[in-house]
Every structure is written in structure tokens, then in C-alpha cells.
């Protein structure tokens, strides 16, 4: 990481702390914002957060590693979380899982080489009456079929063009 990048990260996280407060109870909201902006919580980011909240960086690591929506490893722009819990399982999540792997070329817990997609399992996302269900970032898709997988991924790819453009123009999403 370049020094200038580090400086930018530190500045941005400091601005976050100014907005969210420097109490311990601000830790998870801060980490959520870092995750959303940088698609990961890097070791350097953890150190900065720890400095700002005046806690040990291991405290930050222990929280970041506990929750499934926070991650140290870099994620794709679109995180796909397929529900694997009982009702979605009975509704046919295995076929959807297989097609997701076929179309993305990666397994669960992996990210595509172009950094666009991460594929993960989710535990019950509360769509049990309309399974199989999955989340793409914050968006929920119900009654997904293997055929629909392609549509969902294509819709993401089209959006990705927009995101890439915004990032290039200096408006981080």
C-alpha cells in the first residue's frame, strides 16, 4: 500500500470517527462503513480504528472476525449470499448453488479473479416462505431458480459498469 493511500485511509476513517463518535459502541458501525467502502477491513484499517477509539488492535480484530458480514479478506463488489437453511434447502437451494458456481467459476467462500463477485453461504435470511432465496449485497432475491441465476448476475454486471465509472470519477461508492 502506498503511503498516500494509507494517508487517505486514515483521513477517511478519522472522518468516520468524527461522525460516529469515538466510543466503544461506535466500533461496529465504523467497521461496517469501512467494509462497505473498501470491501474489506485491512490490518491497517484495524490499526487506525484502534488508535481512534483508544483500544488494542486485537480488540478490533476479535470483533471483525466474529461477525459474518465483516471480513478481513477482500470481497468482490457484489457479495452473493445464498441461504442454506432448512426451508430454502427443501425448496431446492442445491441446484441454485450449483448453477451459481458454474456461472461464476468459483466455489463458496471464494471471489472471482476480476474482484466482481464473492460467493458465500448465509444462514436463514428470513425468506423461508419464498425460497430458495439469496442476497446480493443488500438486495434480496426470492424464489430463485437455476435459470434466474444468469439474469441476476447479468444485472449485477450491468450495474458494475456504473460503479466503475463513479469510482474513476472519484466518487467512492
Amino acid at each position: 500500500m502506498l503511503v498516500t493511500e494509507r494517508e487517505r485511509l486514515r483521513d477517511e476513517i478519522t472522518a468516520l470517527a468524527d461522525r460516529l463518535g469515538r466510543e466503544r459502541s461506535s466500533l461496529i458501525p465504523m467497521l461496517q462503513e469501512v467494509q462497505a467502502r473498501y470491501l474489506q477491513i485491512s490490518e491497517y484499517a484495524m490499526q487506525v480504528v484502534a488508535d481512534l477509539l483508544d483500544i488494542h488492535p486485537v480488540e478490533v480484530y476479535s470483533v471483525a472476525s466474529f461477525y459474518s458480514f465483516l471480513d478481513h479478506a477482500p470481497k468482490g463488489r457484489f457479495v452473493i449470499r445464498l441461504c442454506r437453511t432448512i426451508s430454502c434447502d427443501m425448496a431446492g437451494k442445491d441446484a441454485v448453488a450449483r448453477q451459481l458456481q458454474n456461472d461464476l467459476g468459483v466455489g463458496f467462500g471464494e471471489t472471482t479473479t476480476d474482484d466482481k463477485f464473492s460467493l458465500e453461504w448465509a444462514n436463514c435470511i428470513g425468506m423461508c416462505d419464498q425460497g430458495p432465496a439469496l442476497l446480493v449485497n443488500d438486495q434480496v432475491f426470492a424464489r430463485v431458480t437455476p435459470e434466474k441465476v444468469h439474469e441476476i448476475l447479468e444485472a449485477c454486471r450491468r450495474t458494475f459498469g456504473v460503479y466503475a465509472q463513479e469510482r474513476k470519477e472519484g466518487h467512492p461508492v
Binding site: R24, Y67, C124
Partner: protein, 397 residues
């Protein structure tokens, strides 16, 4: 391909928004707690603690700052009613929280919303903004001088255990979601060590209804120990899955009739942490005194393999255990291994009995509700489906 129109939430839809809060504001604390206690309402999240008792304890606790927390960390497999309540009747939930603030003397309410429901955040914030404009939140609510209360939303970050109230509080405070020892209970030592009431989404909505319609109205349905209507989330092998409203005390058989699940061989009542009711027990009633539930009903059709179901639940608990206490952290993987042995047809009766003993130990020795209830499904499946799960001949033999 909606199998049919969702039955929805007719009772909540018939309420007049704001009427419950208006009724509460003219009454004193003891009076409000009396009304809630008289209704007999118990926690709708699953644990079934009497709401009147909880509020009374928090109101009596000493502290200059108190909190009302709405538990919107709906994560129990098979449960989705809180999602619908938050989408369609958020005002009732916020109203219940505000009544809670008035009653226990809190100035701040926090909605702990699960990460998976991030898409609800923006609409909920919009409802909160409208309530502030209408003077239903903020300073001197509805002109009552000195009554200040506001609500903020804090997102969860993906952990089932945070539905347990002390783990939820840990998470709000910026820690890992590891449950605390109880006592002390949150009503005296809760968020930031202040007296805190934690209630489920549905419970808070019902409180707003009770203040509007009165305790006798609420008690007019249900059983003596389980009063009122309850919202159910129905999924699995039935013709009409969705959200339903039933009086507590309904039999499993009657519920199955309504949702079109008459062919079921078993029903999981209470989600992964609940009890698997076999066909021979469909006469049992769903109520706190018999088969208790937070509202999850998962229907298993006649072709389902009960070991697949047990494995799915145990996978879930193995993944979601916070890892803090040994019975839960190490017990669930052991039970899961046992299910694998059963699948391969290599489990002796003696070992199966040992596993059941382990399950009972987990029920007794785990620190929180997650560990204590995690072996329930396994134990009830073993109890009722021995012929199906034992002596299996693996494919190819």
C-alpha cells in the same frame, strides 16, 4: 409463482395508528404496567417472559438513564414474521417502544436490526423522520411536558446469537456477540450497564394494540396461560406458506389444515431450536405451556429424510455457536458427527444413547438459550423416528 395471497396481519392492519400512545400518555406508569400485566402477554420472540413483569422491573430499577431496545435480529430458521411487521406496520412497533420509554422512564430507544434486513433500514428511517415531524418522537411528545424519547437504528453484522438479549447488548456496545451470565439481568444492568428493556418486534406491536384496545380484548382469545393472538411464520411442505395470525392454543392439526399441510409427517415448531412434532402428536397445542414457539412452523412432507433435517439444523448451530462455552461449542459438532454415522448406518444403539445424554447435558450446561436449545431438534427426531434413522443401508450396498 405465489401459491396464494399472503394472509397477512389483519389485526395490526385494523389498528388506529397513534391511538395506543395517546391512551398511554394520559395514564401513570403503574396503570400502564397494570394493563399490560392484566393482558397476560408474554414475550413473542420465543422465550415467553411476561412483559408486564419485565417492564415493572425496569421501571423500578434505579438509574438516571434507561434504554428500550427492540430486538429485530430475527434469525431463527423458519422465522420471517418480524420482517413483515417491520415492512407493513413499523408505526405500531415504534409506538410500542415509545410507550415503553414512557413506562420505564427511558429517553432513548434502539432498534437492533439484523444485517440481512439492511434493505429495511431506509424505509424505517423514513418512518422515524415522519414520527419526529408529527411530535410522536423527540421532546415533549404529544405535548406532554418532560416526556422525551427518540429512536435510532443500529445494524447487526451477521450473528444469530445476537438474538439472545445479552449478546445483543454486547453487540450494541461494540463487542463480540457473546452472551453474558444472567443475573444480573438487562432490566437492571443492560446497555452500558443501565437498566434496559429488550423486547421482540412483535411484542412491542402487541403492546401498542393492548393500550389501544385494552387487556380484556387481548385476553379474549388464547388459553389461560398463553393469552392473545400470535403471528406465525409458516414454511416448508404446505400449499400456502406465509405469515398467519392464530390464537395461541391452536392445535398443530388445525394449523396444518389452514396452511394446507395435511400430508405432513412432522412439523418443526419453534425453528431450529424448537421441537419436532411427529404426526402422532398433531393433537398437541401451540402455547407456552405445551409446544412453545417464537412463531416458526416448518412443515415436513412425507418424503423428507429426518436425518437431512437434523444435519441441516446441527450445521447451523455448529456455525452459529459463539464458541464461548464448551457444551455448545463442542457438543453440536459431536451431534452432527452422530447424524453422519446414522446416515452411513454405522451408529450403535449404545452410542446413540450416549449422544442423547450429551444433548441433555447441553440443555442443562450451556450458558445461553442457543446452546440450551440447540439439541432439541436432534433429540425429538431421535425420539420419534428411530425406525427411520437406525440401521440404514447406504446406497450401493
Amino acid at each position: 409463482m405465489s401459491k396464494q395471497q399472503q394472509p397477512g396481519l389483519p389485526t395490526f392492519a385494523a389498528m388506529t395508528p397513534g391511538a395506543g400512545l395517546k391512551a398511554a400518555i394520559g395514564r401513570n406508569r403503574a396503570d400502564i404496567i397494570g394493563e399490560i400485566s392484566a393482558s397476560g402477554i408474554k414475550g413473542r420472540g420465543g422465550a415467553g417472559f411476561p412483559v408486564g413483569v419485565k417492564w415493572n422491573l425496569c421501571a423500578a430499577a434505579r438509574g438516571d438513564l434507561k434504554y428500550v431496545v427492540c430486538n429485530a435480529d430475527e434469525g431463527e430458521p423458519g422465522t420471517f414474521k418480524d420482517r413483515l411487521i417491520l415492512m407493513e406496520h413499523p408505526d405500531l412497533v415504534f409506538e410500542g417502544m415509545t410507550i415503553g420509554g414512557l413506562t420505564v422512564g427511558a429517553r432513548e430507544g434502539i432498534v437492533y436490526l439484523r444485517a440481512e434486513y439492511m434493505y429495511l433500514r431506509r424505509p424505517l428511517e423514513a418512518v422515524l423522520a415522519k414520527r419526529r415531524e408529527a411530535k410522536l418522537l423527540g421532546q415533549d411528545i404529544l405535548g406532554k411536558s418532560g416526556f422525551t424519547f427518540d429512536i435510532r437504528i443500529q445494524m447487526g453484522a451477521g450473528a444469530y446469537v445476537c438474538g439472545e438479549e445479552t449478546a445483543l447488548i454486547e453487540s450494541l456496545e461494540g463487542h463480540r456477540g457473546e452472551p453474558r451470565n444472567r443475573p444480573p439481568f438487562p432490566v437492571d444492568t443492560g446497555y452500558l450497564d443501565r437498566p434496559t428493556v429488550v423486547n421482540n418486534v412483535e411484542t412491542l406491536a402487541w403492546v401498542a394494540c393492548i393500550l389501544q384496545k385494552g387487556a380484556p380484548w387481548f385476553k379474549s382469545v388464547g388459553t389461560e396461560k398463553s393469552t392473545g393472538l400470535k403471528i406465525f411464520s409458516v414454511s416448508g411442505d404446505c400449499d400456502r406458506p406465509g405469515v398467519y395470525e392464530f390464537p395461541l392454543g391452536i392445535t398443530v392439526a388445525k394449523l396444518l389444515d389452514t396452511v394446507g399441510g395435511q400430508d405432513a409427517k412432522a412439523v418443526q415448531v419453534g425453528g431450529a431450536s424448537g421441537y419436532c412434532v411427529p404426526k402422532s402428536e398433531f393433537h398437541r397445542v401451540i402455547a407456552y405451556e405445551d409446544v412453545s414457539t417464537g412463531g416458526a412452523i416448518i412443515v415436513f412432507g412425507r418424503d423428507r429424510d429426518m436425518l437431512d433435517i437434523a444435519a441441516n439444523f446441527l450445521d447451523f448451530f455448529t456455525e452459529e455457536s459463539c464458541g464461548q462455552c464448551t457444551p455448545c461449542r463442542d457438543g453440536n459438532p459431536r451431534l452432527l458427527e452422530g447424524v453422519e454415522l446414522l446416515r452411513e448406518g454405522r451408529c450403535s444403539m449404545r452410542y446413540l444413547n450416549e449422544l442423547c445424554g450429551l444433548g441433555e447435558t447441553m440443555q442443562l450446561a450451556s450458558k445461553c438459550g442457543l446452546g440450551q436449545s440447540s439439541p432439541n431438534a436432534f433429540l425429538s427426531i431421535v425420539k420419534h423416528f428411530k425406525d427411520e434413522i437406525m440401521g440404514r443401508v447406504p446406497a450401493g450396498h
